[in-house]
């Protein structure tokens, strides 16, 4: 009997304390409401909200303010990834200007150049541009890429006259194998949600 009373007072007093403090915070939030620019609120809504700090801002709110003020790129949020960057670009009106920035988001895995050898004319333009001497070949000879030396800088892709070079993920070998990232778009389609 006595224990039952203690339990009841404990439950009641903690409930009362919680409700009282909750009411206090609720009133304070109304009473001391500070108008913030709606765009910051909108951006904050889009962000993951985990305050992980990977963007180097203290929390998503600060990051949202920086994005709204144009002090940070829309691609600042690693957990949000490409999808968030696209949404932020839409909200802030950065538009097409960010397409090139987004290139780095497409695949987090390191990218290397790959030459389609049947398109290569052996013009040597790419191998002159390569900063790491990762392209081997000679004039009128088919070039090829040394994947271990390639840093995926995109310079050769720009100059190739026959568009024979693309950047793609490193060929997987036992030495560089890793787990793939979970494919969210695939899961979404499985759940019947169109993305």
């Amino acid at each position: 009997m006595f224990e039952g009373v203690t339990m009841l007072t404990a439950a009641l007093s903690m409930t009362a304390l919680g409700a009282g403090l909750g009411a206090m915070l609720g009133i304070a939030a109304r009473r001391f409401h500070v108008e913030t620019p709606p765009i910051v609120d909108e951006i904050e809504q889009l962000m993951p909200g985990t305050n992980c700090g990977q963007c180097s801002f203290p929390g998503c709110r600060a990051a949202a303010e920086a994005v709204a003020g144009g002090n940070a790129p829309v691609t600042l949020c690693p957990p949000g990834g490409r999808d968030l960057a696209l949404q932020l670009a839409e909200v802030t009106g950065a538009g097409d200007a960010i397409e090139s920035e987004l290139a780095g988001f497409e695949d987090a895995a390191p990218q290397v150049a790959f030459i389609f050898e049947d398109h290569c004319t052996g013009c040597t333009k790419c191998f002159k541009r390569c900063p790491t001497d990762a392209i081997v070949g000679a004039a009128k000879q088919v070039h090829t890429v040394v994947t271990d030396a390639c840093i995926g800088c995109d310079a050769c892709v720009q100059v190739c006259p026959t568009e024979a070079i693309i950047l793609r993920g490193k060929p997987r070998t036992l030495a560089n194998w890793y787990w793939g990232k979970p494919d969210l778009s695939h899961t979404a389609t499985m759940l019947g949600r169109a993305t």
Partner: protein, 193 residues
């Protein structure tokens, strides 16, 4: 008066929360990379700790002891301290945006961390009165701020040294923290208990 001075000195130096009691190590390691951030964090913690010591005392005397509910101390302390910090943040944001910008971002980070809760609980354990509790909280927070700023200064200097690769980053910081802690042991006996 002399008693109060002894408490202040005793909590800030002799029984330093971070280096002697090993409380609040997460901000000590996490926010000590730059002196500026360390100062901000230190002031915010001073504020929260003092407030927590006062509210902890009030909750203990007004709710827990009369209702015979001492076993709910941790739960109710966390609840009350977190709510008060949140409340202060809201009010501060409205009343003083400058202060909010300086301290506000740190406040949610320290809502009841181990140092804050630990000092509030120690106050009860040692049976301090209200003024003593507040002073104990304030002194502990001063010690925390002092150590945090010293350590941030050390780490800023260390960033420029060539540390062997296996020690670079966190390991050398831990070693430095250990040495600093041993240094603070030298204060033992400064204030008679």
């Amino acid at each position: 008066m002399q008693d109060f001075f002894a408490i202040l000195l005793g909590t800030a130096l002799v029984n330093n929360v971070v280096l002697v009691k090993f409380l609040g190590l997460c901000p000590f390691m996490g926010v000590s990379r730059k002196v500026d951030a360390a100062i901000g964090m230190g002031f915010a913690t001073t504020f929260v700790l003092t407030l927590a010591a006062a509210s902890g005392w009030a909750v203990e005397r007004a709710i827990l002891v009369p209702l015979d509910l001492e076993f709910l101390r941790i739960l109710s302390f966390i609840l009350v301290i977190a709510a008060i910090v949140q409340f202060t943040e809201t009010v501060m944001r409205k009343i003083s945006p400058q202060l909010y910008r300086a301290l506000g971002i740190f406040l949610p980070l320290i809502t009841t961390n181990c140092a804050v809760l630990g000092v509030a609980l120690l106050n009860i354990q040692e049976g301090h009165g209200f003024a003593q509790s507040v002073l104990y909280g304030f002194g502990s927070a001063l010690g925390f701020t002092l150590v945090l700023v010293i350590f941030a200064g050390l780490r800023e200097q260390m960033a420029q040294l060539s540390v062997p690769p296996s020690f670079a980053g966190a390991p050398i910081a831990f070693i430095a923290a250990g040495l600093l802690s041993m240094g603070f042991m030298g204060f033992a006996g400064l204030v008679p208990n």
